[in-house]
């Protein structure tokens, strides 16, 4: 028997459908997924009720294990058990500190290292994708079940101090895991959202985020409905792992050990991490282990000793903190509160040092492990369009490191300075230095030092086809555009002769769309139907989104168009609707692009109107066409 739904008079039977979106904290040590349910952000637990998924992937015995089962393999199969893979994202072998202590069989590859495992050579992007896939499945099981709904997308967090290579790698990993990335969000900004909304905070706040492998400090101004990042700084290779490593070195020295096997190194590192955690609450703790040589280790470490051996690690977080304050143009007493984020902030000597610097007790009234995921979920909920218009908030974030180009003598010409609010674009003109020069090579770098050698190389490309001219006559305009994800696109154009030549680069580690598609295909193990079904579904979703958005735009702002324009748009939409009902995903894609072209001018005019509305306080009646 069919049940009839009866609605109150005036109430629609189909209320605005809630779109499922999640926030993911892809951490060095642990990862989490959260969502907003009935207006409240919640972390989604696994079957056994655990919120944290250890960021560990094990490739052995012909299968891939993620999380706790993988962690259990760490001591006995360290070579195939990848921990803290976040440290390798967008990094070459030379970039990773203490790499000699990693038990892995590294392969250097252009832009990003790879790891040889029993399951083949894996890039950090693929390893991270396994973690993200596990979180996606967890979310789908918890949220979708048999409801027939789809996950519209995810906000994935990254350390604020991540450079372009690391951000691009993270986005690629999410796509590889089958996630639609709504936005890459900086971790301290996510924490600020969660903290700010829960506490109705107003004023200037510092977010001190010391995670497993990264440190960020962000200074934000919170005011009604606006989260504005004033400055950010940090160290993308400093975190709780380094404290473990210090303690591990202490054990090695105290016990007089040398030439440890990878298995013994793993055992001692695990012991060191446990001891570090215990020392947050105890005056001393024991470290015991039996090595493969039969040697028995039994040492007692006192809290004071541990603080002493890691004092300079704590100091390494304070220098960037002062820099961020200075960049924000603020004195310490102008900061209203310091929010502590990340598991490593549980260490009392970290709390004490931060308290002394800011001359106030740091705020710890939220779970430092969960706050980033919760904030990401809140942002995902806004981006998915689940909050009524006017009830959203605005997030203004910045780039953490300056972006520039190499000039003569190995010097960097900065084009976009650090702490520029995104999205941002800037152009700079360059010229040729030889008569008749027809090509010019460009080297894009990121960092705040003056020498190219001290900055990170992002991409090299060549602009060809410059018409031969006298030296200094060519006008090559190089434009840097950073989008709302903090990702860079560079284009160059020779303009003086009217001949235009342009190129857009993706940083060198980046995967092309084709590569991602290929990896996705491989992961489906030649199940062609799946790949096709997935491509078709993706295009259908895009088509539906386009039809829905265009029709609502026509309802609201048809007066911005002449009759002929309206007719053209309607005709193209009708074609799109017809194609979306069939099964040719390429045809749908082409038609989506056509609709994009014909609605371009309409989009521009609508944007102009909304700017006017914003300025005139929504006084629509006073706005002329």
């Amino acid at each position: 028997m069919a049940l009839l739904q009866i609605s109150e008079p005036g109430e629609s039977t189909a209320p605005h459908q809630h779109r499922l979106a999640v926030g993911i904290d892809l951490g060095t040590t642990n990862s989490l997924v959260a969502t907003v349910r009935n207006g409240v952000a919640v972390v989604l637990n696994d079957h056994e009720g655990h919120p944290l998924l250890p960021s560990v992937v094990c490739y052995s015995r012909g299968r891939v294990q993620v999380g706790c089962p993988a962690q259990a393999e760490q001591a006995c199969d360290p070579k195939n058990t990848i921990v803290s893979v976040k440290r390798f994202m967008g990094r070459g072998i030379r970039d990773v500190a203490h790499i000699e202590n990693c038990p892995y069989d590294f392969v250097d590859a252009p832009g990003m290292l790879k790891i040889r495992t029993t399951a083949g050579t894996k890039s950090p992007v693929e390893v991270s994708a396994e973690i993200l896939k596990a979180l996606r499945l967890r979310a789908e099981q918890a949220l979708i079940g048999n409801s027939g709904m789809e996950l519209v997308g995810a906000v994935v967090t990254v350390p604020a101090y991540f450079d372009d290579a690391q951000r691009q790698a993270t986005k690629d990993a999410a796509r590889l895991a089958g996630l639609n990335v709504l936005r890459l969000l900086n971790e301290p900004t996510a924490a600020a959202i969660a903290y700010g909304l829960d506490n109705a905070a107003e004023g200037v706040y510092a977010i001190y985020d010391l995670g497993g492998g990264t440190f960020d400090i962000s200074i934000l101004r919170l005011s009604r409905g606006v989260f504005e990042v004033m400055a950010t700084n940090g160290n993308a290779a400093l975190g709780g792992d380094d404290f473990d490593h210090r303690l591990y070195c202490w054990v090695v020295e105290k016990a007089g050990l040398s030439l440890l096997s990878p298995e013994d190194t793993s055992v001692l590192l695990i012991q060191a991490r446990e001891a570090k955690e215990l020392l947050s609450a105890h005056a001393e703790t024991r470290i015991t282990a039996t090595l493969s040589t039969g040697q028995f280790i039994d040492l007692t470490v006192r809290q004071q000793e541990f603080w002493e051996m890691t004092r300079n690690l704590v100091a390494k977080t304070l220098a960037p903190t002062r820099k961020a304050l200075r960049d924000a143009g603020l004195a310490v007493d102008e900061v209203k509160g310091v929010v502590m984020v990340g598991g490593a902030t549980r260490m009392p000597h970290v709390q004490q040092a931060v308290g002394e610097l800011f001359r106030q007790v740091p705020l710890n009234n939220l779970d430092p492990d969960k706050v980033v995921a919760l904030g990401a979920a809140m942002q995902a909920n806004v981006l998915a369009g689940n909050r009524p218009s006017g009830d959203e908030w605005l997030l203004l974030d910045v780039i953490p490191l300056s972006l520039g180009i190499e000039t003569m003598g190995g010097l960097v010409e900065k084009i976009l300075p650090r702490n520029s609010t995104i999205p941002v674009a800037r152009a700079q003109e360059f010229t040729t230095f030889k008569d008749g020069q027809t090509a010019m090579s460009m080297h894009v770098v990121q960092g705040d030092r003056d020498l190219v050698a001290d900055c990170r190389s992002l991409a090299r490309f060549e602009l060809r086809g410059i018409p031969p001219m006298a030296a200094g006559a060519a006008r090559i305009r190089v434009t840097f555009q950073v989008d709302a994800d903090g990702l860079l696109a560079v284009s160059a154009r020779e303009a003086s002769s009217g001949v235009e030549s342009s190129v857009t680069v993706k940083p060198s580690y980046g995967l092309t769309d084709d590569q991602i598609t290929q990896m996705l295909k491989d992961s489906y193990e030649h199940a062609r139907d799946d790949v096709h079904a997935r491509a078709l579904r993706e295009q259908q979703v895009e088509a539906e989104r386009m039809i829905e958005a265009s029709e609502s735009a026509l309802r609201e702002d048809a007066d911005l168009l002449c009759a002929e324009e309206i007719e053209t748009i309607r005709a193209e939409l009708a074609t799109l609707r017809r194609l979306a009902a069939a099964t040719d995903h390429r045809a749908i894609k082409q038609q989506v692009e056509r609709v994009n072209r014909v609605t371009g001018p309409f989009a521009t005019r609508r944007m102009d109107r909304s700017v006017k509305r914003a300025l005139t306080g929504r006084n629509v009646a006073s706005i002329g066409p």
């Binding site: 519209v152 997308g153 709504l182 936005r183 409905g225 606006v226 220098a319 002062r322 820099k323 200075r326 806004v382 981006l383 998915a384 369009g385 959203e392 605005l394 997030l395 203004l396 520029s420 609010t421 995104i422 999205p423 941002v424 674009a425 800037r426 555009q481 989008d483 709302a484 989104r545 386009m546 958005a549 265009s550 911005l560 989506v592 692009e593 609709v595 994009n596 072209r597 609605t599 371009g600 309409f602 989009a603 521009t604 005019r605 609508r606 944007m607 102009d608 909304s610 700017v611 509305r613 914003a614 300025l615 066409p625």
Partner: protein, 177 residues
């Protein structure tokens, strides 16, 4: 239909075209416009709208950055009045001003050489007062007298002082490390 990308930044934020601007009004207008055009509002929109949104938000950020900072705001106004501030080429400054600059530099070097944080703080406060005086001067030159060449010279002086501010900051940072 006017195109906002070609509109001048004062019109964009609904402000009178003057050097002296109401900072709060600028902040408010910036946030209101950004709330309307920011890419976060168009995540689910078709490609065409997402593209326009990124262009607009980029332009609005550029305008805010230009008007928020006194040196950039003054330079922008000068260019709009056909005066090239000649920041890079025209370095001829009055001798008295250059002598003053040397004195500032010596004071900073001395304070940082003797690791005197208190003196650096003191210099920083004195510099802030000096900057304020110059902002007022540029305001009179541009808004009241329409003396653009005169304002251009004050702006060039201002750039020297901003550089001093950075040096004081660097010296403070060096003491902290």
């Amino acid at each position: 239909m006017s195109d906002h990308l070609t509109q001048n930044f004062f019109e964009l934020f609904g402000l009178p075209e003057r050097f002296q601007v109401d900072g709060e009004q600028l902040d408010r207008a910036y946030r209101e416009i950004q709330a309307a055009v920011h890419p976060d509002r168009f995540v689910n929109a078709p490609e065409a709208e997402r593209r326009v949104s990124m262009q607009r938000a980029t332009h609005v950020n550029d305008g805010y950055r230009t008007l928020r900072n006194p040196v950039r705001r003054a330079a922008y106004l000068l260019r709009r009045h056909g005066v090239d501030p000649q920041f890079e080429t025209d370095t001829a400054m009055p001798a008295a001003f250059l002598v003053e600059q040397m004195e500032w530099r010596e004071a900073i070097e001395e304070a940082s050489g003797s690791a005197d944080a208190r003196e650096l703080d003191h210099l920083s406060a004195r510099l802030a007062g000096e900057l304020k005086r110059m902002y007022a001067e540029i305001g009179r030159q541009i808004d009241e007298r329409g003396d653009f060449p005169g304002a251009a010279e004050t702006v060039r002086k201002l750039m020297f002082l901003e550089k001093l501010g950075m040096e004081i900051g660097d010296a403070m940072e060096a003491l902290e490390d």
